[in-house]
């Protein structure tokens, strides 16, 4: 495993952990949303890194990179919907805390 790949994977792991912790700990929906984006991008970094690792003359493909683009596209769509929900929530309340949105509790 080359230096660059292992470094990228460490970066990816750190970013993902930050994202997970952010989702678990923070209460503001926009911040949670940003953390989700962080996790997605951590995954993107890992995808690209793995592609680099396996890239060779026998396997001259860019599957990892292409997949990363797909993740970006889906993340964009997700942002569109998620932000819309958040805006709608802001319209109803002054300040929102995700812990207050608990109508579906058992």
């Amino acid at each position: 495993m080359s230096e660059m790949v292992s470094g990228s994977l460490v970066l990816s792991g750190v970013l993902f952990t930050i994202g997970v912790l952010g989702v678990m700990i923070r209460r503001h929906p926009v911040v949670i949303f940003m953390c989700i984006e962080l996790m997605l991008n951590a995954a993107n970094v890992a995808l690209v890194a793995f592609n680099q690792q396996h890239y060779s003359n026998q396997w001259p493909a860019l599957d990892g990179q292409v997949y990363a683009f797909m993740v970006i596209a889906i993340a964009a769509a997700e942002v569109a919907i998620g932000l819309a929900i958040i805006v709608a929530l802001f319209k109803r309340r002054e300040w929102i805390d995700v812990d207050e949105i608990n109508l579906l509790r058992g």
Binding site: V20, V23, M24, I25, I32, V98, D99, I101, N102, L103, L104, R105, G106
Partner: protein, 696 residues
């Protein structure tokens, strides 16, 4: 033409589709009626063409008398090979002809009778469906297709008996007919299963050709059991003891329906099935014996009930039960063609009687009780004339239709080779007694309705003054049927013309289907030179054909019987004279009691009070069945509902719901409503998956 015989079924079915689906759109009663009648008219035309085609080809067909029309492959699973196929042979042609013919006349009559009814197109839909189901039944070439028709007529009888369903009584009568028939259907099903078990096929031709060798290899009880199970079905459909109770209640339907059920469709199905599967009954003489005894008992029992009923349709209903008993006697003694002969003759005069009673009820404005009729002769001359002719026919007066068939049945009982020597004599005496009672009760109902003094209710007189004759749509079918009741018997028994046909009598025409000997000796029958067959046919209905053509052993057995009874033509004429004498005694006796000396019966009612009550109460069969079957059955059903249904079935369902509820309660705290908890679950899940992957 033979391969187009399915059109006979298709036309009424088309009528069902048009009237059933578009009936509400048509709105015009005239159009609905025309569609219904045309469908049957075309069907009758197909029947006639089929008959002509077959009659002129008979004996030139080298492969035997059966012509099979395969419409489409139906069920092909393993060694179960069943096609939707029709069978054209003399028996099915005879059934086809009279079912379509009589039904056609009843359809025409219905256009008049039902003219004021709201459910006009619905009525014709059911009527057409009824006939098409009956045709499927008689044309089927295997047991399963026959069973489709068998169930179909049961369904249609239910629909038509309960036609005026707003009255709960009518609906109950329909249900009674259906439920009682279901008991018989169970027997038919078991019989068909057993046939498939032993023959590996339910195809009739296959069964006919192999019955002798299959049953010779099987235990003796096998043909007996098959025969008895099939006969159970026949008792249901043909209203024989102990399942006869539905037929008198079937009077709840409109009168044309009664005529259709009693004459052309439904009740003839049982007799037809026994005649159709006669090779099985031939292999099981004990089953035949049971058939004859049950038929004889039913004939006697129903005749005694008919003696005292007041309702004109009830008398006719019990008379049908009684006549069906005669048909089963003929089946039981092995004279299958005689049974079918009586079926056809009975269709003519009973249809005429029922339609006549409908005309009376119509003219009397829904009055059915003969106690409040009388003197209708003046007001309804056509109905009176046709009713009288049919009465003479059913009583068995020479030369009316009923004479030939009934006399032939009595004669066949006399020459019957029974297992028990006493049986023919006992059955003959009971059957002769029944013939006497038949003449008496038919005379009684005719005289009470049409002759004597007016006994109309004051209510009726105030409202309608006097009864009126029915319109031409109702009178014309009556006249046609009455004409058939006059000449039908002679035309089929000893026709004075040949029309270029070799087989002019019903007996010789039907011999390939109904003469058991012709199955055993089927190949031999074809090797007989045509001249000899023609010669045999010239000898007419007598046993020449059998001796010349088929079954030397069988013929010899019959021959011995003739020797025992002496010269058989002389004996037969004596027997015939005796049965006419009985009929005359019955008719004259009832005339004396119900016309010049009306009221003479009152003192006999007092003297024979227990017997009279027994007859008037219909032998209390309904009450007996109510106590023995309905009440315990209801108790068992109640117990099943109370314990099995409520506790076990509902318990399983409710228990499942309870378990799921408990699981839900237990896991409820997991759903906190905090998004971060859910995120934690997702994370935990992902970690667990990863750990699983690592440990692999």
């Amino acid at each position: 033409m033979l391969e187009y015989v399915w059109l006979a079924i298709a036309f009424p079915l088309a009528g069902v589709v048009v009237n059933g689906i578009f009936g509400r759109l048509i709105r015009s009663k005239l159009v609905s009626g025309i569609i219904g009648c045309t469908a049957l008219g075309l069907s009758f035309a197909v029947a006639v063409l089929t008959w002509m085609d077959y009659a002129f080809q008979l004996w030139t067909v080298r492969d035997g008398p059966y012509y099979e029309v395969v419409l489409w492959p139906w069920i092909h699973v393993g060694n179960l090979q069943i096609d939707a196929a029709l069978l054209v042979d003399p028996l099915s042609i005879v059934m086809l002809l009279f079912v379509t013919g009589v039904s056609f006349l009843i359809h025409i009559y219905s256009t008049g009778y039902m003219a004021h009814d709201d459910g006009y197109s619905r009525f014709f839909t059911y009527l057409n469906l009824f006939v098409s189901m009956m045709l499927i039944l008689v044309l089927a070439n295997n047991g399963l297709v026959m069973f489709v028709g068998w169930e179909g007529v049961g369904l249609c009888s239910y629909l038509l008996i309960g036609f005026w369903y707003r009255d709960m009584y009518n609906a109950n009568c329909g249900m009674k007919a259906f439920v009682v028939n279901r008991i018989g259907d169970f027997g038919v099903l078991i019989g068909l299963f057993m046939l498939f078990l032993y023959f590996g096929s339910v195809n009739f031709v296959h069964i006919f050709n192999h019955s002798a060798d299959v049953f010779s290899g099987a235990a003796a009880w096998v043909p007996l059991a098959i025969g008895l199970f099939l006969f159970l079905g026949a008792t249901g459909k043909s209203a024989q003891f102990p399942l006869h109770i539905w037929l008198p209640d079937a009077m709840a339907g409109p009168t044309p329906v009664s005529a259709l059920i009693h004459a052309a469709t439904m009740v003839t199905a049982g007799v037809y099935m026994v005649a159709r599967l006669n090779p099985i009954f031939t292999q099981a003489p004990t089953a035949g014996f049971v058939v004859a005894v049950v038929g004889c008992f039913t004939a006697f029992m129903a005749a005694t009930i008919a003696l005292t009923q007041h309702d004109i349709k009830k008398v006719l209903a019990y008379s049908t039960v009684s006549q069906l008993g005669y048909m089963f006697i003929a089946c039981g003694v092995g004279a299958y063609w005689v049974a079918i002969f009586h079926v056809v003759m009975h269709a003519f005069f009973k249809a005429c009687l029922f339609l006549g009673s409908g005309s009376v009820i119509h003219g009397m404005h829904e009055e059915q009780d003969t106690r409040y009729m009388g003197a209708l002769r003046k007001f309804m001359p056509w109905t009176y004339a046709t009713f009288m002719v049919s009465t003479l026919a059913i009583a068995g007066i020479f030369p009316f239709a009923g004479f030939f068939s009934k006399d032939e049945i009595l004669w066949q009982i006399a020459i019957w080779q029974a297992e028990f020597g006493w049986a023919p004599a006992v059955l003959w005496i009971v059957a002769a007694l029944t013939a006497l009672m038949t003449a008496f009760y038919m005379g009684r109902v005719t005289y009470k309705t049409f002759l004597g003094k007016e006994r109309w209710t004051s209510d009726f007189k105030a409202k309608h003054k006097h009864p009126h004759e029915s319109g031409p749509a109702m009178v014309v079918p009556l006249v046609v049927l009455a004409a058939l009741a006059i000449i039908g018997g002679a035309a089929l028994f000893m026709p004075p013309w040949t029309m270029g046909l070799q087989h002019t009598t019903l007996k010789t025409f039907m011999a390939p289907s109904t003469d058991p000997a012709s199955f055993v000796e089927l190949p031999a029958a074809h090797e007989v030179p045509a001249v000899e067959v023609a010669h045999a046919a010239e000898h007419g209905a007598e046993h020449g054909a059998m001796e010349a053509g088929h079954g030397a052993e069988h013929g010899a057995a019959h021959h011995e019987a003739f020797v025992m009874l002496g010269s058989h033509t002389t004996t037969e004429i004596l027997f015939a004279a005796f049965s006419v004498l009985l009929a005359l005694i019955g008719l004259i006796w009832s005339w004396v009691w119900f016309v010049p000396r009306f009221g003479a019966t009152e003192k006999w009612k007092q003297r024979l009070k227990p017997l009279y009550g027994f007859s008037l109460g219909k032998w209390f069969f309904d009450e007996l069945y109510h106590r023995v079957i309905v009440v315990p059955g209801t108790a068992v059903a109640y117990a099943c509902w109370r314990f099995f249904d409520l506790k076990i079935v509902d318990g399983i369902v409710n228990g499942t719901a309870w378990v799921i509820g408990v699981i839900g309660q237990l896991t409820r705290p997991l759903q906190t409503g905090f998004v971060r908890n859910y995120a934690l679950y997702v994370l935990l899940g992902a970690v667990i998956l990863m750990l699983c992957n690592l440990t692999k």
